[in-house]
Symmetry: C2
């Protein structure tokens, strides 16, 4: 029990205060596997996400506590997108020995803050040594049986909504990489890129109210994620470019050049972790314009015709081509 791997596991367990399982988690860290049983009347949500150095974050540009926060936030966002509540997670971590000290402490600090914020307890995982930092997070959530909001429930005529403003996280990433010290921290878009907030309250509210017919989270960008929702529902969509809420010019757009980027950022920017969902027209009256301060905006409607089209400012219709994050396209 004094091997370096065992010591690493103890560091993780201590830093995340995950020794004693609670609630539906019956057994946590320290055995071959975790034991879990959902509450009566609930289903378990299972999802996993890569978070890899060089692909999803940069060792030099991203603070370790942001890496810890974001790896969990990304995976928790998939639970929000089903209308569920996150409960526990498994952490698979590969890292260099050189990073098993201070970097790891700060990483675990961000992870612990995120775990507390999202109500999600470390239940287990796997560690190994590697020259690059590799992370895989598997999140377990709960949703009342039969209440999960799938991608496949949208029908022609349904209205399409998004939460928040799109393209902010991508804009934040650009500011971060430009490396202007003033922009690196404190700017809302940089904060959104570094410490995204999965829309748990909204997802949970939509599932409870039974308002949304289909839902997904915007991780790869609207132009990539909307076609996935439409394909699962076997429908198309017509959205209005002018209605898409984009980066607030008052909060971070400093030049005419970046102002011109706003529509493209809103369509293609990834990492926003906002929710995209559809609502039957007769239920649209129940939709508030904000939920707990988060703007909810109707950007178009679902069509029988399977094309994904966008109406531009000049009234012209154009097919929307996926331009968001797809690691296999680059």
């Amino acid at each position: 029990m004094n091997s370096p791997e065992d010591r690493l596991l103890r560091t993780i367990a201590k830093a995340t205060k995950a020794a004693k399982p609670k609630g539906s988690l019956h057994l946590g860290l320290g055995d071959d596997a975790a034991l879990w049983a959902p509450r009566a009347g609930f289903e378990t949500i299972l999802t996993c996400d890569w978070f890899l150095e060089g692909s999803h974050f940069l060792r030099g540009a991203h603070p370790p506590d942001s890496v810890g926060w974001k790896c969990l936030a990304r995976a928790v966002s998939d639970v929000a997108a089903m209308g569920g509540e996150p409960k526990c997670f498994l952490l698979s971590l590969a890292l260099p020995l050189s990073h098993a000290g201070r970097w790891l402490d700060r990483f675990l600090g961000g992870l612990r803050r995120a775990a507390q914020r999202f109500g999600c307890q470390l239940a287990g995982g796997d560690t190994t040594r590697r020259h690059q930092i590799l992370i895989n997070i598997m999140v377990v959530g709960e949703v009342r049986a039969g209440k999960a909001i799938l991608r496949s429930g949208a029908e022609a005529g349904d209205l399409i909504f998004v939460s928040g403003r799109l393209g902010e996280a991508e804009f934040g990433l650009r500011s971060l990489l430009r490396g202007r010290t003033a922009n690196r921290r404190g700017s809302p878009s940089v904060e959104k890129h570094l410490y995204p907030e999965p829309r748990l309250a909204l997802g949970h509210w939509l599932a409870k109210m039974g308002i949304a017919t289909a839902m997904t989270d915007l991780s790869d960008g609207l132009s990539s994620d909307l076609p996935r929702l439409c394909a699962a529902s076997r429908v198309g969509a017509l959205i209005d470019a002018g209605k898409i809420p984009s980066v607030d010019p008052a909060k971070g757009l400093h030049s005419r050049a970046s102002a011109a980027d706003r529509p493209a950022l809103a369509l293609n920017g990834g990492d926003d972790y906002e929710l995209l969902f559809t609502v039957r027209p007769r239920k649209a009256r129940q939709m508030p314009s904000r939920l707990q301060g988060l703007p909810l905006t109707c950007i178009g409607k679902i069509t029988r015709k399977k094309a994904i089209q966008v109406v531009l400012a000049n009234g012209q219709k154009k097919n929307l081509l996926p331009g968001g994050w797809d690691p296999f396209r680059r």
Copy 2:
């Protein structure tokens, strides 16, 4: 839905025939997350495992279908070690574009064979592009509530058992890397290294009969895994080197040099995925010497004294130091 990542997901879904969830799996591939609910009276087992090129397999030496088989077998072995049955899994796969064709097909072939063999259905996952092949498998299993066999239940006086023969997989790896064509396939030890069999039937039988007090699987080697079981149970162990079943000299040991390696291989060799478990002395009479052909051998006993000791052929007692696989030691 025609992005390269979406096409890769469809290839995986098609190759693993995982479109329609069944049993406790309510929703599989194609949404933000999977939905799962265990049968009444059962708990869910959750476990995950890295399987990384360069650390756990070599692109040149390991056939792609072995990579597919073994990544799932390793994770399923943790379910066997709890006395449970595997049910479904999430596949996180990162690979180079150059491997998204023939290599992927063969990888998925091995994965599908393993999934059928273990009764474990693909439920979801995440894919990304990467210059190296990275795999993380998360397995979901079931065990009757309260019947899981933990690492923490061993008491002083319990007898220590192992299944199978130890060191075979490590010996197989050495044969594979020596690259003698005759040894590469067909030899039982090479087969055990490439296509390990998690001891599901044994784990399940032990849980059902209530015979084992503590259990873990031998993934890193006896000298690493026994101390973990003992630490979880707050006990020590005294094992008899002469009783440890090691590589069968009739099946693959070709030289005096390798014959001399047998005790070290049995103590430190990794990747066997045999089960290590403890039994109260009064229940030991119920232990058969074989279960479905698999040898079960008593190798020592649990002690109140927390040291992990081995009795050598000359009667001398020696502390057993972890010499198995620990990625942070190398």
